[in-house]
């Protein structure tokens, strides 16, 4: 019960034989807290249990839908998407695909990323292309030319350097970047 009992904890060479140090002395919790979305400072404290994905990082591969509430006023807006008095419906690809052209860019991006491997991902892809956005195969983001700048095509014609507007799906915003664009990387 005295100080000598702490020796196996303190002496590094004894650690692995007597106690599991990750549980006794523990570990630096910075990365664990970071993985939970907990910031160091108290001021910026945000709740994390409401969006808790899993007790383990390895099984937290995707976001989970939190509690949310859609007020009545969001559901009875007349003439949304030119639908007149009724709520807009999307029940038939044949009948409804043209409505995609009524969505704003951000809505298209949302649908593209939200529904992988679906009809709507394909339809939003086609619509964004119509609006001169191009999808980068490796970065997995959409980009379009900055209208203010003319890009310089590289000798050989395989790429161009210029200024582009990217849509960042993590930060959910458009941002301008100088970039070397390889033509075979976009679709």
């Amino acid at each position: 019960y005295g100080l000598k009992a702490l020796l196996p904890l303190i002496r590094r060479e004894d650690q692995s034989t007597e106690y599991d140090p990750s549980m006794t002395l523990g570990i630096d919790l910075t990365s664990v807290l970071h993985s939970l979305g907990i910031q160091g400072n108290q001021q910026g404290r945000q709740r994390v249990l409401d969006t808790f994905q899993s007790p383990w990082v390895e099984t937290s591969r995707s976001e989970v839908e939190p509690r949310f509430f859609v007020p009545e006023s969001f559901t009875n807006i007349p003439n949304v998407l030119q639908s007149g008095a009724q709520d807009p419906v999307f029940n038939s690809v044949q009948q409804d695909h043209a409505k995609i052209s009524l969505f704003q860019d951000e809505t298209l991006f949302y649908l593209f990323y939200k529904h992988p491997g679906s009809v709507v991902q394909e339809l939003t892809y086609l619509e964004l292309r119509k609006r001169n956005w191009r999808y980068h195969k490796t970065l997995k983001v959409w980009l379009t030319k900055d209208p203010m700048m003319e890009p310089a095509v590289a000798p050989g014609g395989a790429s161009e350097r210029g200024s582009y507007v990217f849509f960042d799906p993590q930060r959910w915003e458009k941002c301008q970047r100088d970039f070397v664009l390889f033509y075979n990387a976009i679709m």
Partner: protein, 512 residues
Amino acid sequence: TNQEKMFLVFTEWVKLLQRVPENDIKVTVFIRQMMDKGVINSTDNMIQFTKAAIELSVGSFKESDPTSEVFIATDAFSKLIVKLLVLQDFTALSRSEYLRLMISVITMVFSEDQGMADNSFNERPYFRLISSLLCQWEDVSGHNFIKIQDQQFRNELIEFTPEFYNIIASFLHAFQPIAYPGFSFAWITLISHRMFLPKMLSLPGKVGWSKLILLFTDLLKFMAQYTKKNDVPDAVSVVYKGALRVFLAVANDAPEFLVENHYELLNNLPHVYMQLRNVILSAIPKRMVLPNPYDPQLSIGDVESCQHVPNVFYDPVQDLKNLKKPVDNYLRIPSASLLRVISTGIFKADQQKDSGIGYDSVSVDTKLINAIVLHVGIEAALEKDKTTATAIFNTKSSYYALLASMLSEGTTEVRFHVVQAIVNQLRYPNAHTLWFNYVLKNLFLSEEWGPSFAEIQEIIIRTLLERVVTNKPHCWGIIVTFTELLKSSECSIMTLPFVKDVPEVEHIIKHL
């Protein structure tokens, strides 16, 4: 057969939900028809239907292509449960009884499934059923069931909601890892589910807290049972990592839960989990700003929050058993005979195995010791409010005397566990931290121990040191107390023989 009919009806339900949105009138009509046609109009039929639904859901999961949608039937079943709770008029059975009945049937099927010799049990569909049930209940109950038109129904459902969560909690308690190890990882994921844990933490009047403590106790008991010091099975080590993350998340979102329940949580926490112990004890009330514990000008008595008595959700007096009277009587009027009763009453009938740092067994009832120490602290704080500070900040007071006497009369083992219990109360700035800081300092510097002096001092230093050599967090009260002892002019710790005897420790203390 009747069972086949049940299968058919459930299958139709699953198909219906894939074809129409859930608020479509056809969904309500289907349920109405289920009731009218007697599918679920009696307890027997209810049981049979539930059994059919869960068996089909689990069966369909097991047979589905893993890359496809494997939970369609399970999700449909959970939707049905919510609809049945919300759409029916409850006359014969209450809503609670109805839900309990369905859960009991699910429990039965679960037990049978996991007991099958073919090892085909998979926790995922059962996990998904409860997870979806929680999500769908959340959806319908949002903003006090605003989606429900009828005001009376709405009121009933609002009243029922705490019951709903407590029934789920009871189900989880029955399926704790010690009982159903094949469900352990699903279980831990469920108790920390985003639609369960924050809800239970925030139910009005803290009505979810008792069940939550029960569940956390289940988790800690499982970890305690199978944690050996140096041979932790890999799976248990993974359990620990998950538990740590969950506790950190709770410390962030609802620190008051850890603050008010530290006693019960620590009663079941294996001693070797030193960092986790610190995580629980370092929880501080939201919005409290801690004075810098390393500030050389800091005087703990001047910290304003040290005047506030912390809330203790579970009164440890309930755990005093047959020592309640002797302890309370001693606090009124100390006597040697009462002390004898207490000192002998803290021993267990038999020695038990325990995984501690430096010890493998325990012959005292540590829970009882923790209860006594905390109870004395609570009573001391009450006394201070009733009378004056000098009534308790006084080595002649019965409060101090009881703890000091337990040390002086006790074996080394008793001394260790009493000191541990005292140090457990050195947390954020509050009235208990302040008083136990006073107690510990005086115990350390007391000249009344005689030959036991060195042993008691060593136990105190060991107990404080083990809580600061760990990775952070460290408790504010521990740092402040240890700092005071290190700076004490009355006793230079560095000169103490038992410190000099252990060069590694001497080195650390010098560093501190």
